[in-house]
């Protein structure tokens, strides 16, 4: 039996990797990918607590499924935005997207 702490450590590591990626990536696509990692870290946590706290109706799993679905949808929206920006500005570097800045 794998202890609960291993799952939680895996989730924390995934979160840390995702955060690091979101903060350091210069391209919009990289940031989107990192955010997906953070979401998956959250899913691992949800399922872990569902299992070890013994929720009988599997609410945590259902929640995780919802997160996966919404993450897919938000990834689509994000990629669409990136493509639209790229078409207009010929770049996907976030620091170049400064037209609204004063």
């Amino acid at each position: 039996m794998i202890p609960q702490s291993h799952f939680l450590i895996l989730g924390a590591v995934l979160f840390a990797i995702g955060l690091y990626g979101a903060l350091t990536r210069r391209t919009a696509i990289g940031i989107l990918m990192s955010i997906e990692l953070i979401l998956n870290a959250a899913n691992i946590n949800l399922i872990t607590f569902n299992k070890f706290l013994g929720s009988p109706d599997g609410l945590g799993q259902i929640f995780a499924l919802f997160v996966i679905a919404i993450a897919a949808a938000s990834a689509v929206v994000g990629l669409v935005l990136v493509i639209a920006v790229y078409r207009n500005m010929k770049t996907i570097f976030t620091e170049k997207m400064n037209m609204l800045k004063w």
Partner: protein, 626 residues
Amino acid sequence: MVKYAHLIPLFPFMAFAINIFFGRRLKKASAFVSIAASSIALLIAAVTFIGNSNGEGSYSVVKWVFLNGVPLDFGVTIDPLTCMMLLVVTIVGTLIQIYSMGYMHDDARFSRFFAYMSLFMGSMLGLLLADNFVMLYIFWEGVGLCSYLLISFWFEKPAAAKAGMKAFITTRIGDTGLLIGILLLFFSTKTLYFRDLAGLAINDTTITAVGILIFCGAIGKSAQFPLHVWLPDAMEGPTPVSALIHAATMVAAGVYLIARCYGLFISHHAALVTVAYVGAITAFMAASIALVNNDIKRILAYSTISQLGLMMLGLGVGGLEAGTFHLMTHAFFKALLFLCAGSIIHSIHVDDDPAIHTQDIRKMGGLFPKMRITGTTFIIAGLAIAGIPPLSGFWSKDELLSEIINTGHPVLFAVASLTSLMTAFYIFRLIFLVLFGKMRPGVRVHESPYVMTVPLSVLAVFSVVAGFFRPMRPDFLTMGVSTAVAVIGIGLAYSFYILNNKILSADIRSRFAFLYRLLSNKYYIDEIYEAVFIKPCFRIAESAARFDLGVVDGAVNLTARISVVASKIQSWFDLYIVDGIVNMIANITWLCSAIFRRLQTGLVQNYILIAFFGLAIIILIKLIGG
């Protein structure tokens, strides 16, 4: 009772309005407007005269105001006095206006002249019709205003402008007395109607004072001593104006006022005696000045003053009818004299005189053959004023003299007779010097046009027959005296100026040098006024001006300077303190935002980082504190 007498002054006023507003478009036609208005007024006056020859009364035209609860209406008085005066004013006025068409023919302000003439006539007619003092005073001032406008009609001449002012200011002194008199009358008796005057309390000193104050107004308007000085100067105006002022309107107003208030005067002896003596002094003084004057119009002016003095004298001794009768006859022959003088001045040309139209009788002479109509009418008027029977002046002067002697005033009778003697002398001196003798070289003259000579002839007829308008009361003593006096006067003038050809007069002049100087300087009255009233007035005015310039203006300027300094300080304060504070706040804000705007990099990752660390710190605090 005829109820349309109040329309009489309306027509001249309408003519005034038309001429003053449309005069420029009407040009010469404005004369016809004025003459038509005067003729209509004359017609109504004649109808009124016929309709009211017996009855008298007054009627109210418009309700006007309540003074302290006492009602005052615009009303009209109609009695024989008013009717007679209306007729005289309209006849003489109309003739003078016709004459003016010729006299003013080339004047640049032709229509303005006729506008003023109509206003003058309207005011005078209103004055005659007024049934209370307030209305009378309004028209009285209207007459005064018109005299000012007309005397200074040729205001390009400084002398004319000055004469207009002199006339206005001098009569104003009398008018002030009249106004005070009216107010005193109202506050002491609560009435302003002429019809109530006769019933006022006898021997009341207040009412006597009212009488004397009213007489003050008459002194100013009728040019009595000591306010007579304006009238000779008024000769600066056009000659028809002189005729109108002297015969029909302005100066008659004073005599008319006394006659109108006679009910008051007759019961207050002191007031009446004042009138008599002022009249006597005026008559004598003015006649004596006329003896030596050399200006054709001024001689007539002094003659007018003298005759007005006689009228006042007649009124003063109780001869209401004699005084007003003389007023009427005098209106005709004095208007005629002035118009004759105007005709001469208008047509004479003197080569070496800068004035061209000279008024100096020493430059005239022998004009009769050249101007037969003017000359004849002039002589008729002269005979009338001298008092030769049966001309009009004889009858009225005779009645005056008989009134004076019959009321027991031998001294005044002597003065009046002497005045008549002088009158006959100076008027024939004028006639002999102007019309007879030899013509001076360089003088050219021609008869005036018909538009001028026809009014002369009409007036001459009136001068002859006006004496028969009244039933006569023959008084053979005074008739003899006055005829003798007139004949002596004319004879003296004849011997002086025709027989001796002025040699004797020069001799007499040197023998009575002092008297001559006194008379030719008009008793130095103008000089005395100059020294006693005008100079001090000017001095007061000058010191007031200095005070004004120094103190008042100084104070004003000081205030201005203080405000300038104060506002400079204030503007500095505004600029550096108030604006400074505002700018300082703005600068601080700017500085702060310059610091803090560095936080806002625009990079989303930075924000996330900060948010993450913030969250981490909160969790840490929670854990440590927890």
